[in-house]
């Protein structure tokens, strides 16, 4: 395989949600005719931020069509992402049904690109890790990466205002191979939560690959935070590209 040239085109596009809402999305495409696999990037709870857009560009630089929809777009397309995140939080978060519809639209947009090879993977971080798992349950994708997603398993503590509920009971519905990347010092999900998910995947006979990192906690991919752990992140990125390379070839 030739080294990627890393030339790319980035733009904001507007998708139409299943409910008719306008959803802005950050779409980044490699230069060239392709064909390229697609990657749906799911942002974390703080919103459609610059760090997640950088990750989206990173996939395009490695030869993937990548798109990151603004899950908080219903607060307004011209609202600052941090303000939209705060308002969405106050409203109790994004309902799972709305997320699934938005993910479906974004996956369809990736497959409709003229350079698409027809394959699409999904990746999410933090709350987006749970969303990536939910996508793999609900949307026709070919590979999914859960980066330390909380509340796929475990119990949501009483008093939590967001509508998130554990998804592990639906593991049998998983449509594609799953890559899970976790820090052993994380509290949500902690190693027991990851054990619970791994047991459910084994019971359901679903293909998965987990990597658990010592000395790393939550958000170890976040280069702008003290949680960043270069050894875990560098290895994790390699695992991601190996996994997508295997599962998203046409």
């Amino acid at each position: 395989m030739a080294a990627p040239q890393e030339a790319l085109t980035a733009a904001e596009v507007v998708l139409t949600g299943k409910d008719g809402a306008s959803i802005n999305a950050y779409e980044v495409r490699p230069a060239g005719d392709g064909p390229f696999a697609g990657v749906l990037v799911i942002h974390h709870l703080p919103g459609w931020d610059s760090g997640t857009k950088e990750i989206t560009r990173h996939f395009a630089a490695h030869g993937y069509n990548a798109i990151c929809p603004n899950l908080y777009a219903r607060q307004g397309l011209d609202v600052d992402p941090d303000d939209a995140a705060a308002a969405t939080r106050e409203a109790g978060g994004v309902p799972d049904s709305q997320f699934v519809d938005d993910a479906t639209v974004a996956v369809e947009a990736l497959r409709a690109l003229p350079t698409s090879n027809g394959k699409v993977g999904v990746i999410g971080y933090c709350s987006g890790g749970r969303h990536a798992f939910l996508t793999a349950l609900s949307v026709p994708v070919d590979a999914a990466v859960d980066c330390y997603g909380a509340f796929v398993t475990g119990t949501v503590p009483e008093g939590f205002p967001l509508k998130a509920q554990p998804l592990v009971g639906r593991t049998g519905e998983l449509r594609c191979p799953l890559l899970g990347l976790f820090g052993n010092d994380d509290q949500f999900p902690n190693p027991e939560h990851v054990d619970e998910l791994e047991a459910a995947l084994k019971d359901a006979g679903k293909p998965y690959e987990f990597h658990r990192y010592d000395g790393a906690g939550h958000a170890f991919f976040s280069v702008e935070r003290p949680a960043y752990r270069p050894e875990a992140a560098v290895d994790g990125w390699q695992r991601i590209f190996d996994f997508f390379g295997t599962n998203l070839e046409a």
């Binding site: 974390h44 931020d49 609202v79 600052d80 949500f188 958000a219």
Partner: protein, 86 residues
């Protein structure tokens, strides 16, 4: 971790944001990942008037230690004001 937990309270007063002064009616208080501050987690406060839309917000993201000092400062200032602050 994402704590998700938000502690809201009604407030009365004003705040100055990107569009100038506006009345604020609610404060959302939570300890979670910041949007901007260079910490893993911060004590975040959104002073807002939801009726004016998502942009009617003044946000602060404080380290846990500085948030505790701020609580003490507020309490001390109110105590010093005595009856006038009751």
């Amino acid at each position: 971790m994402c704590s998700y937990l938000t502690v809201p309270t009604d407030i009365a007063g004003s705040a100055k944001g990107a569009q100038g002064w506006f009345p604020v009616t609610s404060a959302q208080v939570y300890f979670d990942h910041p949007f901007h501050a260079p910490f893993d987690h911060t004590l975040n406060i959104d002073f807002a008037d939801p009726a004016r839309g998502p942009g009617a917000r003044v946000a602060v993201e404080l380290s846990a230690d500085s948030a505790r000092r701020l609580v003490a400062s507020i309490t001390e200032a109110l105590a010093a004001a005595g009856a006038a602050a009751s």
